[in-house]
């Protein structure tokens, strides 16, 4: 773990993928892991299934007073690769780390200075039958990828929180995050 006191994260998803819940769970996990304060900020409007959704998370070693939107996140957690087809989203990604759900290699190019990780979270969810209303739920798998890419949270804390939160379905969610942890890898930008 680095010595930074504050980490800011932007979670991008589509309505129905569990991005807002995933953001809150990630905050819970960071708190369980010993961060002093967190704030999970869902940006809620008139969204519905499929619409691009955004949520912010701050995790901190200090008490947090801010409630404003995260403008320059340390990490992007992108639950759906197709969100990068929006220019306004792709263009905001600079000098940061992105963790992206993709199966066949991310087809979008980031500017230099961006560190990218990829994880086949949708594939993991489908393989594990982790679905709600026919849609694969990738949020907890993405948290596993976040753990691997950042080293900020531990797998056992993910387990504790998701089992506590989902009850019976928690084990399956945890399995998804452990699998994602295993499969997350850094993308070589010049590949």
């Amino acid at each position: 773990m680095t010595s930074k006191e504050l980490y800011e994260i932007t979670v991008l998803s589509r309505g129905g993928q569990g991005g807002i819940l995933g953001n809150k769970l990630l905050g819970k996990i960071a708190f369980v892991d010993g961060f002093k304060d967190i704030i999970a900020i869902p940006i809620i409007g008139a969204e519905r299934r499929g619409a691009p959704i955004r949520a912010y998370l701050r995790i901190s070693e200090q008490k947090l007073r801010r409630i404003d939107a995260v403008k320059e996140p340390d990490y992007y957690l992108i639950l759906d690769e197709t969100l990068l087809s929006y220019d306004y989203i792709l263009s905001e990604i600079k000098d940061t780390t992105v963790i992206i759900n993709t199966e066949n290699g991310c087809s979008y190019k980031f500017p230099p200075g961006v560190i990218a990780y990829e994880v086949p979270a949708t594939r993991i969810a489908i393989d594990l039958d982790l679905e709600v209303a026919g849609q694969p739920i990738v949020n907890v798998a993405m948290i596993g990828a976040f753990a691997k890419a950042t080293g900020l949270i531990k797998l056992e804390s993910i387990k504790k929180v998701v089992v506590d939160y989902f009850g019976a379905k928690g084990e399956l969610n945890y399995e998804a995050s452990a699998k994602a942890f295993e499969l997350t890898r850094e993308v070589k930008q010049d590949e």
């Binding site: 809150k24 905050g27 819970k28 708190f31 304060d37 967190i38 704030i39 999970a40 900020i41 869902p42 809620i44 947090l64 007073r65 801010r66 409630i67 404003d68 939107a69 403008k71």
Partner: protein, 413 residues
């Protein structure tokens, strides 16, 4: 989560509100959904459904009935709780006055939102401030913990026989109602030790008892004491100031969390410039103060916690300091046609006569309808104030200075 031990939960502001009702053992909750309050009532209904909270959870057909239900239930001596937002609060406005005029100690949380039209569901305190003169005590909760803690403190305050007035606790729609933060939920026993049960035989002034029928809500003729009853309420709400401080001190002793008083000041001791505001942005602005202090600017901030009663004496005490050169008072609400455009800044003008006349006074408005106010925006307001004081004009800013009021990030060509 059990009731036996203290735990820290990561919960939304609305969940913190529901927990406040649960730990206060509210007997009656009336419910009607409205965004962004709805999840307060959803959470309470889950508590009731799972048997974790014993209360009469009454679903009614409108906000008017929500507050009418509070009147009837509270008259029996029950501890009563509800929550609403924006348009819902406006719809219950008539009954809001019935609660205060009947001197009933109801506690209501407001997840504040912009008033329609055009529709808006995000933080804006114009809803709660439209209840400015309703005779309710009006408090702003600036953190999630404060939402929960304030409910406990508010029952203690409202049910004090010297007060017997209802309390509104307002916090930001979405910005607080739907964001999640750690909140310490004390054990039920700890809360019971702090907040005693309601009296067995009802409130001292009013109780419904079929054995002893009374008529309440009487007509008072002009020559009768209508005016005296009104003055008495005004005096009582002002007289609540020391009682609010007692309640806060008692809470501090019991739970170790200090809410300071009617206002909370931050780095004001040697400050030359002070920003005054309410709510969560009053907490966030401390980050802006720290940044500007590190640049050598002597700034501080004040968070107004209680708007009714208006903390005039507390403000004068801090702002009367000889070091002070400028004050900016920022509203997250709009008071159309008022002297400044903001509720608090307009009202604040009344205390200027008690402050040194050399002071620069800048009213400002930010973040209406949930528009994001960043720490950077808050720094810009301080810089504009310093600019105005030193140069007598505001230059190079993203804010608009129009007719004496600073409109933060207003789109102007």
């Amino acid at each position: 989560m059990t009731d036996e031990k203290q735990e820290t939960l990561i919960i939304t502001g609305n969940e913190a509100s529901a927990w406040g009702a649960r730990r206060s053992k509210a007997h009656v909750v009336t419910a009607f959904p409205i965004t962004p309050q709805t999840t307060v009532m959803e959470t309470i209904s889950e508590f009731v459904d799972s048997g974790k909270m014993q209360c009469n959870f009454v679903k009614v057909e409108s906000e008017h009935s929500v507050m009418a239900g509070m009147v009837g239930a509270s008259m029996t001596g029950a501890r009563c709780f509800t929550a609403t937002s924006g348009q819902g609060l406006l719809y219950m406005a008539e009954m809001v006055h019935w609660v205060s005029g009947s001197r009933l100690p109801v506690v209501t949380t407001i997840a504040s939102r912009g008033i329609a039209p055009p529709w808006n569901i995000w933080v804006d305190y114009s809803d709660i401030l439209s209840m400015r003169d309703s005779g309710w005590i009006i408090q702003f909760a600036s953190t999630h913990q404060e939402i929960f803690d304030s409910i406990l403190m508010s029952y203690k305050l409202a049910e004090d026989p010297r007060v017997m007035l209802p309390v509104f606790i307002a916090y930001g729609g979405f910005s607080q109602s739907h964001t999640s933060k750690p909140v310490v939920i004390p054990s039920q026993k700890a809360v019971d030790d702090y907040l005693p049960p309601v009296p067995d035989d009802g409130w001292p002034h009013l109780v419904l008892n079929p054995e002893k029928p009374i008529v309440h809500g009487n007509l008072l003729m002009p020559q009768q004491e209508y005016m005296e009853f009104r003055y008495k309420m005004h005096e009582t709400i002002h007289g609540a100031k020391p009682i609010i401080k007692e309640v806060i001190a008692d809470f501090h002793e019991k739970f170790g969390r200090n809410y300071h008083g009617l206002i909370e000041s931050y780095r004001c001791d040697d400050a030359k410039y002070i920003l005054v505001t309410v709510g969560a942005l009053g907490e966030q602005v401390k980050d802006a103060v720290d940044t500007l202090r590190s640049e050598g600017k002597k700034v501080g901030s004040i968070k107004i916690r209680y708007f009714r009663p208006f903390p005039k004496e507390d403000l004068v005490e801090i702002l009367g300091s000889k070091n002070l050169e400028g004050i900016v008072v920022v509203d997250r609400s709009i008071a159309y046609g008022s002297p400044t455009g903001g509720h608090i800044s307009s009202e604040f003008s009344n205390i200027l006569s008690e402050l040194p006349s050399s002071l620069t006074y800048l009213p400002a408005v930010w973040g209406l309808g949930g528009r994001d106010v960043t720490v950077g925006d808050q720094e810009s307001v301080f810089n504009d104030l310093i600019n105005l004081h030193e140069e007598n004009e505001i230059k190079e800013t993203s804010n608009s200075y129009i007719n004496g009021t600073l409109w933060v990030n207003l789109k102007v060509r």
